[in-house]
């Protein structure tokens, strides 16, 4: 599903160049739950942004669903993202002016789903995540866990090919983080492909495969849960 070859990312600030990623190779198949593990500054967020088609690599190749995407224009990448990739953010990324129902519904609106379809899909998600009772609440009225559950709901509402989660438990207590991890695992069991970045080895254990990054290099690849 995703194949990366020699991905390199270099940032330039004036005359200073920093290599964030260097010659990263990886393959992610449909239905996998891959965790990118690394300390701060290891390049995991950059890698996950490239996989999520948010950023472009400086060099190398990236195939997404059979398309070479590393040289696509903004608009083309945006079109692939829309409905095809669901994002879960560390700080939830909810729109303050929209309530729970509307936040989850938002991607469907942008994709111009009919009202009936939207109602059905949002109701399913609310029920699946057990947040139906919160549907009229606004983000500022929610706990951090509830916010992230809504964030997850919004990420999966379009039934995307890939879920990209960047430190999804970063703003949660460990108990709440565990809950989110459970939700992600169950989503993976349902067939969702998930790529998650984290700096926590404990959370990394939840994935089927762990790619460990350090200073922009892939240092180990653990496939212990693959079987």
């Amino acid at each position: 599903m995703i194949h990366a070859r020699n991905l390199t990312k270099v940032l330039r600030d004036g005359s200073i160049e920093s290599t964030i990623l260097q010659n990263v190779n990886l393959d992610i198949e449909q239905g996998e739950y891959v965790v990118i593990l690394g300390p701060s500054g290891s390049g995991k967020s950059t890698l996950i942004n490239i996989i999520g088609l948010i950023e472009m690599p400086t060099s190398g190749e990236l195939f997404f669903m059979g398309h070479e995407v590393s040289r696509l224009k903004d608009r083309q990448r945006s079109n692939l993202r829309r409905g095809g990739i669901g994002f879960i953010f560390q700080n939830f990324g909810l729109i303050d002016e929209l309530n729970v129902y509307e936040n989850i519904e938002l991607p469907l609106k942008y994709l111009k789903y009919s009202k009936r379809e939207r109602q059905d899909k949002v109701a399913n998600i609310l029920s699946k995540l057990q947040v139906s009772h919160l549907k009229h609440y606004f983000p500022k009225q929610l706990s951090a866990l509830q916010k992230q559950l809504v964030g997850v709901g919004r990420a999966i509402i379009t039934n995307p090919d890939l879920i990209v989660a960047d430190e999804p438990t970063g703003n949660l207590t460990s108990a709440c983080g565990n809950k989110i991890m459970e939700v992600l695992s169950s989503l993976n069991e349902e067939g969702f492909t998930i790529v998650m970045a984290t700096h926590s080895a404990l959370e990394a254990d939840r994935g089927q495969r762990v790619i460990q990054l350090f200073d922009g290099h892939v240092v180990t690849e653990n496939i212990k849960n693959r079987l």
């Binding site: 967020s45 999520g52 993202r81 990324g93 002016e97 609106k109 942008y110 009202k115």
Partner: protein, 804 residues
């Protein structure tokens, strides 16, 4: 579908932002009120005379040329012109009218001074199509002494409009009412309450002079005694037509001129020609002698339009600044929306709809404010503007266009600014505005302060000048001088009236005269010989009695004031300007001949110092003062009073001698101040604009400071931790944009200087504000901007490090 979503988000955003959003909306609404007000004002100015059907084909024929040493540039024209015009093929209608003097009109025991009495040709109402409430529509006069009155006049005298057949008296002549028309719209370049048949003039003149005079009055091409209007047939070009008129006129006019020149043996040139002014252009840009009303000055309209556009632009800029001030939150929101599937078009639509929702709110508040404030604005500015949103589709669409313009303009920057960013940088919060962004915002603030500076300085200059014309030494004393209108009512017993008045405590002097400062003066033609050549000069004349000098406290330069006792019926006082113009080397030895009558020679008995017998708009012209001939009509009684005067006692004496004429009086100072009413009104409008633009500029500072603090919040928090004082941080915030305030203020000084000069050029006597006024306002504006920074920054720099 998305529209609902955008509107919902915008409304919730407003609720969420609370005071901040209200400030934003209120700022926008202030700009819109100003914009709407200026639109009303300009529309009113441009609507003059548009009520007449086929107004594009209606023209006033005015006169220009040279008469002796005098240039003629007059709205009036001679009576025979209309006769000639009526015979020309291209003309559909020709109408003349003559405004009557201020006289008493009576019905039973009701007597009022009326200065809106006109005499019009029989087809007056064919050309000027007023609606008739009573009588045949339109009334065609077919006999002398017929009269049409307006609705207001009908109510004033009869309490009803059904008055056809009723009779009104004026100067001993009875007029029968044959029609009642609607009131003349305010936006008309002439006003009347009565129109009598022009043929009545024959009777009036024959009462005062012989038939030869009447014939001369009706046929003399050199006597500019009426206003002539014509309607051209469709498709006729006015310029080409006027060329024909001037050619044809020469055949009739030149023989008369030759006759005059031969009679007078004068070598002076006499050349008159006519030109056409479209009726709709008169109010806007005609400034001839003898205008029927004070017309507009195009510079005001340009100034207002400029100010309105600038105020609207600056309010939009504020909106952009306030919208983009909360950058970090907005950036991330946009990033998230992009990642959950929003296309760029959808994001742009969201911001534009948000701005339109703000605009709609502002427009609603603005319209309510305008509706509530318009009566006060009208009263304050002396206007008669109407605002009715639902009056017509044009208004509705006009407002819609303004709303769309403001909404799209205000929303366009955030829309394109945010939607074009890449989501990765937006959600990471690492997106930084470059130096250019700061410079652009700084320049926007500079432009706002520039406008505020421009307006406050120009408004100050206007008040400065108004104060100057009110308080400057006019060369005469206007304080404590009472002007009684239509003094002619006591003409038959003038001496007895004066003597009895003087017995009242507080009355010092009493005088009679024909013209007051600001009035049109009689023009007299005089022939002067300096021994080598003879010249003819036109001089304004004021007919006065001998106490006039005491009432006004005029000062002598040489000789003596006119005196009855010394038999000065053939004497004349000239002012210094006249002495210079006539080039009289020994004025007291000179004699002036009345042009056209070589037997009537006047002796210059005194030279008086120049005084402002006209407004400060014109330079002090030559003036001749002559004693009122017996039985000559005069306009005013002037009473010089001491500190206290029982006006009831004055009225009693008036009633005793005036044969029932109404006692209408005013203070001379007020009348003189009234000459500048138009400029006072403009100064008031400019002052209000200046205040509002100042408010908007300060709002701009608040928006910018909000932006700076938002942008620099991390830095500020760090400085807090490191122990920087609040004052130090605030000074640093101020210094980031203070330079732009200075820049705006300094750069605006140049156009302000130019605008003041341009405005002042309409005055012959102009007192330019000193440079210190510029410095004063520059300092005030900078101080205010610092205070605004202080208030806004106080909260910002108090950020606890942990929150940032």
């Amino acid at each position: 579908m998305m529209l609902n979503h955008h509107i919902k988000v915008a409304i919730r955003g407003i609720r969420k932002q609370g005071v901040y959003a209200l400030l934003n909306i209120f700022g926008l609404s202030v700009g819109l009120v100003l914009g709407l007000f200026v639109i009303l004002l300009v529309r009113h100015e441009l609507s003059y005379d548009s009520s007449f059907t086929h107004n594009s084909r209606i023209y006033r024929v005015a006169t220009e040329g040279v008469l002796g040493n005098n240039n003629i540039n007059s709205a009036t024209s001679p009576m025979p012109l209309a006769v000639m015009l009526r015979e020309m093929d291209d003309v559909e209608e020709v109408v003349r009218f003559i405004p009557g003097a201020n006289n008493v009109v009576s019905y039973e025991d009701k007597h009022f001074n009326e200065d809106g009495f006109m005499f019009g040709d029989s087809t007056f109402f064919n050309l000027f199509d007023f609606n008739f409430l009573e009588g045949v529509d339109p009334v065609i006069f077919n006999a002398p002494r017929q009269l049409v009155v307006t609705e207001s006049i009908a109510y004033k005298y009869f309490g009803k409009t059904d008055v056809v057949g009723e009779v009104l008296e004026r100067e001993g002549i009875s007029y029968q009412i044959v029609g009642v028309c609607e009131d003349v719209p305010g936006a008309t370049h002439f006003q009347f309450g009565f129109v009598a048949s022009l043929s009545t003039i024959d009777e009036i003149l024959l009462n005062k002079a012989d038939s030869a005079y009447l014939e001369n009055w009706k046929n003399d091409w050199l006597y500019l005694n009426c206003y002539t209007y014509l309607k051209l047939k469709g498709g006729v070009a006015s310029d080409a037509f006027m060329d024909k008129v001037n050619q044809q006129k020469d055949k009739l006019f030149v023989p008369q001129v030759q006759e005059v020149v031969e009679d007078e043996q004068a070598g002076n040139s006499i050349e008159l020609s006519f030109f056409a002014q479209n009726i709709k252009s008169i109010h806007f840009d005609s400034h001839l002698d003898g205008e029927l009303r004070v017309n507009s000055k195009p510079i005001y309209i340009k100034l207002f339009v400029f100010v309105a556009i600038f105020v609207l632009l600056t309010t939009c800029i504020n909106f952009m600044n306030l919208t983009t001030a909360k950058l970090r939150v907005k950036y991330q929101e946009v990033g998230y929306r992009q990642l959950v599937g929003a296309s760029r078009t959808q994001l742009i639509a969201q911001f534009l709809v948000e701005a339109l929702v703000y605009g709609l709110g502002a427009m609603f508040i603005g319209m309510v404010l305008l509706e509530l404030m318009l009566p006060f604005l009208n009263q304050f500015f002396g206007l008669n503007l109407e605002f009715d949103f639902f009056r017509g589709w044009v208004d509705f669409f006009g407002i819609l266009v303004v709303l769309l313009f403001v909404g799209l303009l205000a929303g366009s920057f955030p829309a394109f600014f945010f939607s074009g960013r890449k989501p990765g940088k937006l959600i990471s919060g690492s997106y930084k505005i470059g130096k250019t962004g700061f410079v652009v915002r700084g320049l926007l603030v500079a432009s706002q302060f520039g406008v505020a500076m421009f307006l406050v300085v120009v408004a100050t200059a206007m008040w400065w000048q108004i104060n100057y014309v009110r308080t400057n030494d006019h060369g005469f004393e206007s304080d404590n001088v009472i002007v009684v209108e239509r003094g002619h009512a006591v003409r038959n017993n003038l001496e007895a009236f004066k003597n009895e008045l003087k017995k009242i405590d507080g009355v010092e002097y009493v005088s009679a005269c024909n013209s007051l400062p600001g009035d049109d003066h009689f023009q007299g033609a005089f022939r002067i010989s300096n021994g080598e050549e003879e010249r003819v000069h036109m001089l304004p004349i004021n007919y006065i009695d001998e106490e006039y000098f005491k009432v006004l406290g005029l000062q002598l330069k040489a000789g003596r004031f006119l005196s009855d006792e010394l038999g000065d019926s053939l004497g004349i006082n000239l002012n210094i300007a006249a002495i210079k113009k006539l080039d009289l080397r020994k004025p007291l030895d000179e004699k002036l001949e009345v042009y056209g009558n070589r037997n009537w020679s006047l002796s210059t008995v005194g030279v008086i110092k120049d005084y402002h017998f006209e407004s400060y708009f014109t330079e002090i012209r030559p003036l001749a003062l002559m004693l009122l001939p017996e039985k000559m009509r005069f306009e005013y009684i002037l009473i010089k009073k001491g500190k206290a005067l029982d006006m009831q006692a004055v009225r009693s004496v008036w009633d005793k001698y005036s044969e029932g004429a109404p006692f209408v009086y005013s203070m001379l100072t007020d009348r003189i101040n009234g000459l500048y009413d138009d400029d006072v009104r403009i100064a008031k409008i400019m002052s209000v604009f200046a205040l509002l633009s100042l408010f908007i500029a300060l709002l701009g500072v608040i928006a910018l400071v909000a932006f700076v603090i938002e942008y620099k919040s991390e830095g500020i928090a760090v400085k807090n931790i490191l122990g920087a004082t609040r004052q130090l941080i605030m000074t640093q915030v101020f210094s980031m944009y203070g330079i732009y305030v200075v820049l705006g203020v300094v750069l605006a000084s140049f156009p302000a200087y130019w605008a003041i000069q341009a405005w002042g050029s309409s005055y012959a006597y102009f007192d330019f504000i000193g440079g210190f006024v510029f410095v004063f306002w520059a300092l005030v504006l900078m101080l205010l901007s610092f205070i605004a920074t202080f208030i806004q920054a106080f909260r910002g720099v108090s950020l606890r490090p942990v929150n940032s």
